[in-house]
């Protein structure tokens, strides 16, 4: 494949969009002090349920199927299952105070299992590859902006040539950044993640904030899985397609230093790294080495941050710790 800078940017952004959702959701979760390592499982479930929703609708509506409805159903299904998955996590860690690391991993095992199971089940029922009609596929993966805009030289391709989810992701990340920086609730959420005891003393309902942030965050992460399946994977269930995506998202959270604005460019960067070996092969650099660059970069960021000790860059201080008022 020839090297083409505009093509590379486009591919990076498209490939980064599932990560943007996965990461933004996990940022919201971690800001509340919950380290949910179940993102991989949530994204799997989101991918499988999103596809299932669109598939079931497509079959039921037949030729009258509307692309917009299919997209809405897929969004709803993936967000919903993500909320359910992270609700299990929240119940176990916030209410039952189970260890967050272990619960997150159990959720990953459970979630990938559910995702695979649903995908397989659909495959068995259909007797082949699960997919949806081309018209519906286009609703997910084709650019949504008017063609006139796309035809503007250079920026038309870079800015206006994307599918719906790219713009949705950007808006979501911007809203999240605004919420965290500019609203009281955002400030309170961050206090809950930094020091639950202080937040509690100030009259903030720690349990409520943690539940809401974790459940909504889990839903957003799961949407990322759906976006991957419906756009990059071409609306076809592939049992290994999503694997690793959730872990990259977790890495990206650290790389972004828990800031949604950084996730905007961070996801495009990681998206680029994931496909760079296809677009920009360097003869002596093997493709597999490209794939570990995001993790190496994240590890380096993690080391630098801990060595520099700049307080604003540290993980939320209460991250991974359950709060029990009487422990004070």
């Amino acid at each position: 494949m020839n090297f083409n800078i505009i093509g590379l940017i486009r591919a990076a952004i498209i490939n980064g969009t599932p990560l943007l959702f996965g990461t933004s959701g996990e940022i919201l979760t971690e800001k509340s002090g919950n380290l949910n390592l179940g993102v991989e499982g949530l994204m799997f479930m989101g991918g499988a349920f999103g596809l299932m929703g669109a598939f079931v609708y497509g079959n039921a509506a037949g030729d009258n199927a509307s692309g917009a409805v299919a997209v809405a159903i897929a969004l709803l299904c993936s967000f919903g299952i993500g909320c359910i998955g992270s609700l299990i996590f929240s119940f176990l860690t916030i209410t039952l105070r189970a260890n967050q690391n272990v619960t997150g991993l159990a959720l990953t095992i459970f979630g990938t299992g559910v995702g695979q199971f649903v995908g397989e089940l659909m495959r068995i029922k259909v007797g082949g590859n699960v997919t949806i009609s081309n018209a519906l596929k286009d609703a997910f993966a084709e650019p949504i902006l008017p063609e006139a805009l796309q035809k503007i030289p250079v920026i038309g391709q870079i800015l206006f040539s994307y599918n719906l989810f790219v713009y949705l992701g950007v808006v979501m990340a911007l809203v999240m950044a605004w919420f965290m920086k500019k609203t009281r609730k955002g400030l309170f959420l961050s206090a809950v993640g930094e020091s639950p005891a202080t937040a509690d003393a100030a009259g903030i309902n720690v349990t409520k904030y943690r539940y809401l942030a974790t459940v909504i965050g889990g839903g957003i992460s799961a949407v990322g899985g759906m976006v991957y399946t419906m756009t990059i994977a071409g609306s076809v269930w592939n049992h290994s397609g999503l694997s690793g995506e959730g872990w990259v998202a977790v890495a990206l959270v650290i790389f972004c230093l828990w800031r949604p604005m950084n996730a905007l460019w961070g996801s495009a960067l990681f998206g680029a790294l994931l496909i760079l070996y296809l677009r920009l092969p360097i003869p002596f650099l093997p493709t597999q080495i490209y794939k570990i660059v995001p993790y190496i970069a994240t590890a380096i960021v993690l080391i630098m941050v801990s060595m520099r000790q700049r307080r604003e860059d540290q993980p939320p201080q209460g991250l991974g710790l359950n709060y029990f008022r009487e422990d004070r």
Binding site: L92, L96, A106, V114, F117, Q288, Y295, I296
Partner: protein, 376 residues
């Protein structure tokens, strides 16, 4: 607080009889199995038949049992590897990568030295190399943790994917067999672990490791240091322990054992190396260690249970047409239920109006200091 006592309040439970603890855990397991049954029903299978098939498919035949043992070996080995880390409250979730690096180091010798060494020596060299590489891979995050407080949960997590990527590169590059195959050739027979009762001797190694880990944690100075450090860093310092040294040493031990597991999987089970050599064992083992409450013998039981589930599930797929991934779902349900049930062991719920709380709490409060201290 009589006026505003909430409907349910929680206190930490002081004591519970051993028998009741096990009853609660058993209850959680039964509950999980019932939930799993519901999943089978959703999938259109009779739960009883399904569970029956799992048992007969895994434990009903000699080959099935061998498969179960083969699956349980890396799970148990890794769970044992993680025990000292968790006892120290050091979150090594990088076993996946440590297994992979161990397998890689062993494979290096399997590929390059198979012809120049007699089999027993080769196998020993492979084992040592895997331990060293696993230890190095675990030692890097520990070094940063000990010196700069770098978050080990996140760092070890990153190390997993770096390791997997490196092996992926070797697999498709320098160590590739047939050009374009993306596969490393099968090991020479001299680089393959011998079998005992039809399963590679890894099962004997992990059983020895089980005893070793039990003794290490409960009888040695190292084990004592780890446990004290896990309780409180201040106390460890007070007792004259070198916190940095213990942290790094323990992480390396953990990584070393995980590396050895990688060797057993590559040489014993797969007889080759590929990037997915760990196959999620590093993660599942974390839950095994935790659920076993760091008890090596409980790890044996839990590993076998999970292996039975996963092997039995493949026969479900063939006989009942239910996807094998259901075993992951049921494993997940069991893990989540077992995690949740610990709450009922550690906490006590007090419903509004029950005065029980005061009687319970009274003797543990420091008497005269209570007023001033409790406020802080």
């Amino acid at each position: 607080m009589k006026e505003r006592e909430p409907l349910i309040r929680l206190t930490k439970r002081q004591n519970m009889a051993k028998s009741r603890i096990w009853l609660i855990r058993l209850g959680a397991l039964v509950f999980a199995i019932i939930l799993g049954g519901l999943v089978f029903m959703i999938a259109g299978a009779n739960p009883l038949t399904a569970y029956g098939t799992i048992l007969s498919g895994s434990l009903g035949k000699v080959t099935g049992i061998r498969q179960v043992v083969k699956t349980a070996v890396p799970l148990l080995g890794t769970a044992l590897a993680l025990a000292p880390c968790f006892a120290m409250r050091y979150w090594n979730i990088g076993a996946e990568g440590q297994i992979t690096m161990g397998a890689m180091a062993a494979t290096f010798f399997a590929i390059n030295m198979a012809k120049s060494m007699p089999s027993p020596i080769l196998l020993i060299v492979m084992g040592i190399a895997s331990i060293v590489f696993g230890a190095i891979w675990a030692g890097i995050p520990a070094l940063f943790k000990a010196n700069w407080g770098t978050n080990e949960t996140l760092f070890t997590l990153m190390m997993n994917y770096i390791a997997i990527g490196i092996v992926g590169w070797l697999q498709g590059g320098p160590w590739e067999g047939k050009p374009g195959s993306q596969i490393i050739p099968m090991f020479e027979q001299s680089a393959v672990l011998p079998k005992v009762f039809g399963v590679h001797i890894g099962w004997i190694i992990v059983l020895i490791l089980t005893v070793f880990m039990y003794i290490y944690m409960s009888k040695t100075k190292h084990g004592y240091e780890i446990k004290v450090l896990g309780e409180s860093e201040n106390t460890a310092r007070y007792a004259g322990m070198n916190v940095r040294k213990v942290t790094i040493r323990t992480a390396c031990l953990s990584g070393g054992i995980a590396g050895l597991v990688g060797f057993m999987v590559a040489s014993g089970a797969n007889q080759t190396l590929y990037s997915d050599v760990a196959g999620g064992v590093g993660f599942t083992a974390i839950t095994v260690t935790w659920l076993a409450q760091l008890n090596p013998f409980a790890m044996v039981a839990i590993s076998i249970m999970l292996a039975v589930l996963s092997k039995g599930a493949s026969s479900i797929q063939t006989t009942l047409g239910v996807p094998a991934s259901i075993s992951d779902i049921i494993t997940g349900i069991i893990l989540l239920c077992m995690l949740g049930c610990e709450f009922f062991i550690n906490y006590k719920m007090i419903f509004r109006g029950k005065e029980e709380y005061h009687e319970e709490a009274a003797p543990v409060k420091p008497a005269p200091a209570a007023g001033e201290e409790a406020a802080k």
